[in-house]
């Protein structure tokens, strides 16, 4: 157990060094959310007044948080794929370490970074006038919800890092998932206003559940039944993805 902590900690430290010294990788993920928050939040204000109320940016913020969590988690496996491509991972795996330390350290690093990014987006939202109905406790609940969404997506991403053959494919998958799946959720408009086929996808999209819960935390206040329901749905999603990931990776990392 002591050895597991030592090796996991070493790998986690490496990811933290990357995070500190490579801040542009954060900008890469944050660019779209920030553009949407500032410009879409402003541009659609007038249009949205009749359907969602006076403050579109507050309405939008949960969607942006979900997009941030989704994007960062989905890209979380990419450094592992780079390590696979350049031989770093092979060397690491020639050492007497538990294979799970590779996944656990990356998983922790990705989700810590997701939390920091969501916090940054929240602060930016507050600077642009968003008021959070549930206050400081609500901020914690918002971050927690983002993380619950991120866990399952990170599991998918770590799986992809060992299944895909090059990082080009990985970037392609990120491109065709993050923003489209955000549109196929309740991120920008109420679910009821979506065309039927989009609504169908949105209903099975875990982002929708995270977004609806976050929206109630920002706009209306504490809604315990809704929060519990969301936590349950996201936990089921996370458990399913972690189970699937563990199955695939135990074969890939044998």
């Amino acid at each position: 157990m002591h050895e597991f902590i030592q090796e996991t900690n070493a790998q986690f430290r490496r990811w933290m060094i990357h995070l500190r010294r490579e801040p542009f990788s954060l900008a890469f993920n944050l660019l779209n959310p920030i553009i949407l928050l500032i410009f879409m939040g402003g541009a659609f204000q007038g249009l949205a007044r009749n359907s969602v109320g006076e403050d579109y940016r507050s309405y939008l913020l949960p969607g942006i948080l979900a997009l941030t969590a989704f994007g960062n988690s989905m890209g979380g496996g990419i450094p592992l794929l780079f390590d696979r491509e350049n031989g770093f991972l092979l060397r690491l795996m020639s050492a007497p370490i538990s294979r799970s330390s590779i996944l656990v350290s990356r998983f922790l690093a990705v989700n810590l970074s997701t939390m920091l990014q969501c916090l940054l987006i929240l602060v930016l939202g507050i600077l642009f006038g968003v008021r959070i109905a549930t206050g400081i406790g609500g901020v914690a609940a918002l971050l927690g919800t983002g993380l619950l969404l991120g866990f399952g997506i990170t599991a998918i991403s770590l799986m992809l890092a060992f299944v895909l053959h090059n990082h080009g494919d990985f970037f392609a998958i990120m491109g065709i998932t993050a923003l489209p799946l955000t549109f196929l959720s309740s991120a920008f408009v109420p679910l009821e206003t979506l065309p039927a086929w989009m609504r169908l996808v949105a209903r099975i999209n875990p982002m929708t559940y995270a977004i609806d819960a976050m929206r109630s935390l920002i706009l209306t206040g504490w809604d315990a039944p809704r929060l519990l329901w969301t936590v349950a749905v996201l936990l089921v999603f996370d458990a399913a993805m972690l189970w699937l990931g563990a199955r695939v990776l135990s074969r890939q990392l044998a």
Binding site: Q6, R91, S94, A95, I97
Partner: protein, 325 residues
């Protein structure tokens, strides 16, 4: 002789219909430098990946220090320090952070961590560069750092895959020096190489591998001597040999030396076939001096491992193997 430290028995591996290893067997003695020499695609990398337990063979056994690597891969991994042929430094980490990383990956206790890191830095001459990020180090220095990372846990066996690939002459010489130093410290070195001169310079024993099979095994000198050994060519000063008498008497004298296999007269030259010229040249000169014959020049040629490869594989080394594998 002690039991072999690394023992590979009848190792087989195929990828689909491509046979990467076709039953190779070899043994490495403790404290020796063993070279697996062959062209790209001969099966070296597959052998390495099996040794580091990351590829499972279709058949055969591998033992490192008495540990069956497939029965106890975790133990085997702790006995081996593997330095891959690609640079595996992380551009964002400093040299010190790399060492700290591998110190923890190999579970060094914190009490000895710092001294081991200093030791590794000193061995590869990186002292003073600890706080540079890898991206600011030259290719050769990165390679040295890579090596240092593989030595921290003082593994009894070091596995070096193409240690001097793409290095400039100076760094290459440095790397060779570190490898010899490791041997002095009692480390067993298993080395894969494409380079004949590297194998000749470093290895106590060499296995030549071609198309998944070991085609020759032995010390570089033995492998060479099987091709007929070295040829020492002695030219005597023509002034003292009007009638060939001096050459005749040199031939007689030299033939009595124990290391001489045979000799052939060739004009004013005598071609002497010996197992190894290093020992033979001084003896031949002594014999000539004792017989009162002045030597005008002495040259020798040595069949290289290139010739050995040509001899055993039936084609020149540079023609290479298959692709892949």
């Amino acid at each position: 002789m002690s039991a072999p430290f690394v023992r590979i028995e009848n190792l087989k591996k195929s990828y689909g219909s491509v046979v990467a290893l076709d039953g190779i067997s070899l043994e490495v003695e403790r404290g020796k430098i063993f070279g697996l020499l062959g062209p790209n695609g001969a099966g070296k990398t597959t052998t390495v990946k099996i040794l580091i337990t990351l590829v499972r063979p279709d058949g055969g056994r591998v033992e490192v220090a008495g540990t069956d690597v497939f029965k106890d891969p975790a133990k085997a991994r702790s006995l081996i320090g593997y330095v891959p042929q690609e640079l595996t430094t992380d551009p964002y980490l400093t040299a010190r952070e790399h060492l700290r990383y591998y110190a923890d990956i190999y579970h060094l206790p914190s009490a000895i961590r710092e001294s081991r890191m200093q030791e590794a830095l000193a061995l590869v001459g990186l002292a003073g560069l600890e706080d540079r990020r890898a991206r600011d180090l030259s290719g050769g220095t990165k390679k040295k750092l890579d090596l240092a990372c593989g030595l921290l846990h003082r593994p009894p066996v070091i596995l070096l895959d193409e240690p001097s690939l793409g290095l400039d002459v100076q760094v290459r010489r440095d790397v060779w020096m570190y490898i010899l130093r490791l041997k002095e410290q009692g480390t067993t070195v298993f080395l894969c190489t494409n380079y004949m001169d590297e194998a000749e310079r470093l290895c106590d024993e060499v296995a030549i591998i071609d198309r998944g099979k070991i085609v020759a095994l032995g010390s570089p000198a033995t492998l060479r001597s099987r091709l007929g050994g070295d040829v020492v060519s002695v030219e005597i000063a023509s002034a003292n040999d009007h009638d060939g008498a001096s050459l005749e008497s040199l031939d007689k004298t030299v033939s009595q030396l124990s290391m001489v296999q045979r000799s052939v007269k060739d004009g004013t030259r005598l071609k002497v076939y010996v197992e190894s010229n290093e020992a033979a040249v001084p003896k031949i000169l002594e014999a000539a001096a004792a017989a009162g014959i002045s030597v005008h020049s002495i040259t020798y040629s040595r069949p290289g491992l290139d010739d050995v490869f040509l001899h055993y594989a039936g084609r020149a080394f540079s023609e290479g193997g298959r692709n892949g594998a």
